[in-house]
């Protein structure tokens, strides 16, 4: 018998509204706004109020997938990240940094978006960085 609220940040957009997930016996049962949050101050949009809906959704990807032929197969994070790193390196060596474009996302935190542009500029060495809010 346990009911608690776990503080988190809404992932639906870059505003980063403060939300609580209501957790009853280890299962998320609802969302409450964080009334003390300096940005959202207890208000949410319809997405924030439903920010728990994808957590246990059957369509949610829970493991990396690697494309093989016409389909995908499940993979470990180590295998998936190694593959991505290898291929990015190969493409940069073959075609140069200008062959890359990096698309950041409003659904990510500022910190994650900062990391993405840093990776683009410092590692891949391209300025081709854009974000989904301009699509």
């Amino acid at each position: 018998m346990e009911y608690k609220n776990v503080l988190t940040t809404c992932v639906y957009c870059g505003c980063g509204c403060g939300i609580y997930f209501e957790v009853l016996d280890g299962e998320i049962v609802g969302v409450l706004p964080d009334k003390e949050h300096p940005i959202s101050r207890g208000s949410l949009c319809i997405k924030g109020w439903n920010a728990d809906s994808f957590v246990n959704h059957p369509d949610r990807l829970k493991t990396p997938l690697i494309r093989e032929g016409d389909g995908f197969r499940e993979a470990t994070w180590d295998e998936a990240l190694s593959l991505v790193a290898d291929r990015l390196g190969e493409i940069r060596d073959e075609s140069g940094p200008g062959s890359f474009g990096f698309l950041a996302s409003a659904k990510c935190t500022n910190e994650e978006n900062y990391l993405l542009q840093k990776f683009a500029r410092a590692v891949i060495k391209t300025n081709n960085v854009d974000h989904c809010a301009r699509l």
Partner: protein, 281 residues
């Protein structure tokens, strides 16, 4: 603030006592606010929990949490820390089988005059009378004056009133927060999600149906806890509308939501049973 701190200390002692009681009065848990370094939110305090974390602000609809817990644990006996609005919400929920009055212990807390004023609350002290087991801490204060917008509104012509609400409802982003936070909104299917009444993907919702559907559904139900207004991202003065409807329901049907647990809600009765005043028949 000193008075409030003493009250919180007193409340913590009472909660500790009810959680640790060695006899049948022992509670399985107490619903209250918990403040940690992360923030403050509703929580189920159980025996052994750190009661120094029990807090009184900001207000959340604790009655909804109690309802959830009672449904999940049909044999458990829970306490709830309740302000006047929480207690009124529990009364209306009990009438509609959302909480079981016999399985709750009401730890009432009287709001201060400043808190009552901030909420325009007419009834800032919880009433222990409806509950088999209840106590009220703090010093009850008089009700505060209503929201001044109500008086301004009543000076308006019909045309001005329509313009006022049109202007307000135009700000709505259809977050459904007013419904989601409301302790009296517990229907399994909601008219506001029925495409027959509310077309999807249209902002602001067509005037005035969306808000008037909700307002009518809140009549003889709204206990003026003002949670809807507090969470509204568009700052629509929803409780002005609900206050006016509550007054009409009081005058026409002699019903005051949250006041008397033994009086059936008039809109749940047949017309023959409803206590409509003779002058209106």
């Amino acid at each position: 603030m000193a008075g409030q701190n003493t009250l919180t200390e007193e409340l913590r002692a009472h909660v500790a006592e009810k959680l640790q009681a060695a006899d049948s009065s022992q509670l399985d848990g107490v619903v209250a606010l918990r403040r940690t370094s992360e923030g403050t939110a509703p929580h189920l305090f159980r025996e052994g929990d750190d009661l120094a974390q029990l807090a009184l602000n900001p207000r959340y609809p604790l009655a909804s949490v109690l309802s959830l817990l009672q449904k999940r644990y049909p044999d458990a006996h829970f306490g709830i820390v309740a302000r006047g609005c929480d207690a009124r919400a529990l009364v209306e929920m009990a009438k509609r089988d959302q909480v079981d009055a016999d399985r709750l212990y009401l730890l009432g807390v009287a709001c201060t005059a400043e808190e009552a004023e901030e909420c325009y609350c007419a009834d800032p002290a919880p009433d222990p009378e409806p509950w088999p087991q209840a106590e009220v801490l703090g010093t009850p204060v008089e009700g505060a004056p209503p929201n001044p917008i109500v008086a301004e509104y009543e000076e308006m012509s019909l045309e001005e009133r329509r313009a006022f609400w049109r202007q307000q409802f135009l700000k709505c982003i259809k977050c459904y927060g007013c419904r989601d936070i409301c302790p009296e909104c517990f229907c399994e299917s909601c008219a506001l999600e029925d495409p027959l009444w509310v077309e999807r993907g249209i902002l602001a919702p067509p005037f005035p149906m969306f808000h008037l559907i909700r307002a009518m559904h809140m009549s003889a139900r709204c206990v003026a806890c003002r949670q809807c207004e507090l969470v509204c991202p568009a700052h629509i003065p929803l409780t002005v509308l609900y206050d006016l409807i509550r007054r009409d329901v009081g005058e026409m049907l002699e019903y005051m939501p949250g006041a008397d647990i033994d009086v059936e809600p008039p809109l749940s009765l047949t017309l023959e049973e409803a206590p409509v005043k003779a002058s209106l028949e």
